[in-house]
């Protein structure tokens, strides 16, 4: 894990994320990535995410939304994480999402980058991972949980 920098930083974690809809929520999360220079063009990136979302909503059962895109406007594979107590609709059958993972992948990302994102995606289906994120007291804890669970593999 030399060149990959951190997948997630505390600045990318919004524990009290409330937004009227999934697009607004995605924008809030994306803004954190723009602030650190990982996304170079907010609207361009959001358009790519929206195009993916239009193919099929990314909400899955268990209160999870995974807006994501491979985009030319992304420099480093990154994860922004939002937690919403009220929940935000991501089109899952069983209700709104409380855990929102915005996955940003560079368009021409190499296989090493993609494998980290793949490992992240695999952790998402684990009950324990979700539970830990729901209980995390602060952004640094979220970063620690993700780093431990994803990069340890």
């Amino acid at each position: 894990m030399t060149d990959t920098t951190e997948l997630i930083l505390p600045e990318f974690v919004l524990l009290g994320l409330e937004a009227p809809d999934r697009h607004a929520a995605t924008r809030r999360l994306a803004e954190t990535l723009v602030a650190s220079g990982r996304v170079t063009d907010l609207d361009g990136f959001l358009a790519d995410v929206r195009a993916r979302e239009a193919q099929m909503p990314t909400g899955i059962e268990g209160g999870i939304g995974i807006p994501h895109a491979r985009s030319a406007h992304v420099t480093v594979p990154s994860l922004a994480f939002g937690r919403s107590d009220a929940g935000i609709d991501f089109g899952a059958d069983d209700g709104p999402a409380h855990l929102i993972f915005l996955i940003a992948a560079p368009d021409g990302g190499d296989a090493a980058h993609m494998r980290i994102l793949a490992a992240l995606a695999r952790r998402l289906v684990h009950e324990s991972f979700r539970g830990a994120l729901l209980e995390a007291p602060d952004p640094q804890s979220v970063v620690d949980i993700v780093t431990k669970e994803v990069l340890a593999r």
Partner: protein, 514 residues
Amino acid sequence: MKIVAVTSCPTGIAHTYMAAEALEQAAHAAGHEILVETQGAAGADPVPPAEIAAAQAVVFAADVEVRDRARFAGKPLVEASVKSAINDAAALIAKAEAAAAAAPAVASGAAPAAFPAAAVSGGSGGAEGVTLKGVGTRLRTWLMTGVSYMIPFVAAGGLMIALAFMFGGAVVKFKVVGGTYEGHTYAAITDYSKLLGQAGWAGVMFEIGNVAFSMLVPILAGFIAYAIVDRPGIVPGIVSGLIASLVGAGYLGGLIGGLLAGGVVYAIMKLRLPRFLSALMPVLIIPLISTVIVGGLMFLVVGEPVAAAQRGLTSWLNGLSGTNAALLGAVLGLMMAFDMGGPVNKVAYSFGLAGLASGNLTVMAAVMAAGMTPPIALALATVVRPKLFTPAERKAGNAAWLLGASFITEGAIPFAAADPLRVIPSLMTGSAVTGALSMQFGATSRAPHGGIWVIGLIGHPVQYIIALLAGILVSAGCVIGAKHIRRRPVTDSADAGSADADAAAPSATPVPVG
């Protein structure tokens, strides 16, 4: 139990892996072994052929076309969206158990060498649905996908028409679509509230079959395009199929249209558009642009040559008549079997109708016999050598007996569309034999349709049936022979180029799917 699975999703960075993890968890929880191939952005690590051969069931949790699905041909298969694998993987595993249990015992260790490594496009292919590897294999996969969606329409529509002829005789067709039959002129039904009253129950059945048949070419074209580029292909594909029907280009026209639609959509998806447009891609740009391009090509480039060819063939046939009867019969046979309901077939059939109208009943008899031969020959071939055919084709073979006997040549389309280069020439050979013999024997037909159900209207019925049987045997023999050409036992995978990958896959003891 041993399961292999493939997961894939449009972007290839999230759902692909979530589904894989969920399937692995569920399979292990149920006490199964599982190997998942994630066709995602991190590159697919192909499941080793030996693992596929040893697996009792295959699970596809995919929202885009599974790459190189020919590798899994013949295995009990469960298909679902990636999301359903994430949301309820246990249910998919249970379905895989059921599919494996329903299938006959799999011959374990079915020659892993039969799966040439060339068919496996490994490496970091990215999330693109199409790679350049194994174009022959891919072409066949695309055609087979279109055909597999078309077969139920052939069966449902064809059997309804056949039943209508059985119960109502050949006259049913004329009561519905109009025309002159046995000296009586019928008006076409335009007001469908009068369908039952004017044409009876057999007429209703005929029309149901007729409507189902009108979807053959659109469904074929639409799902060929779907196989190439997934959902965006459906609109231009189906529209191209509708136009192929409209301009009379038949299923070969639809086949071209479907491939064209897939190619055009693929090219559009490759375009780098300004970002304010990229969000509009799936909902507006791809459907609109691809349909305009494909539709235009179908009308302007495919439509006119078809019409010109038909005019040319018609005048050529007129020149032939009056020369050698057997030669004319052979030519008509070749034409009937060439495109089953397509433009060439229509020219021959119209020639038969014209003969009927002018009192020359031998041409009609030859045309009908030559049109009955192909489906029956294929049905026979699927029974004699089932291993040469996919499970879907064998099912189509079951229906083809009755379709052929009823002069519904379309029953052969699933086979011809899936493997045109081997099947079409074989069918043409047998139909030429049938057509020539029927003419030679001087068999006649007063009915323009109906197949075996109008045998009472056939002159020299015994010779007629001999002509039929001769053609059926010739066609079946040619099909089996042609299909064997590619099935030389493959011992060295280096011999098996990627284009032959499809050849080997079905040899691993095909097992009915579902």
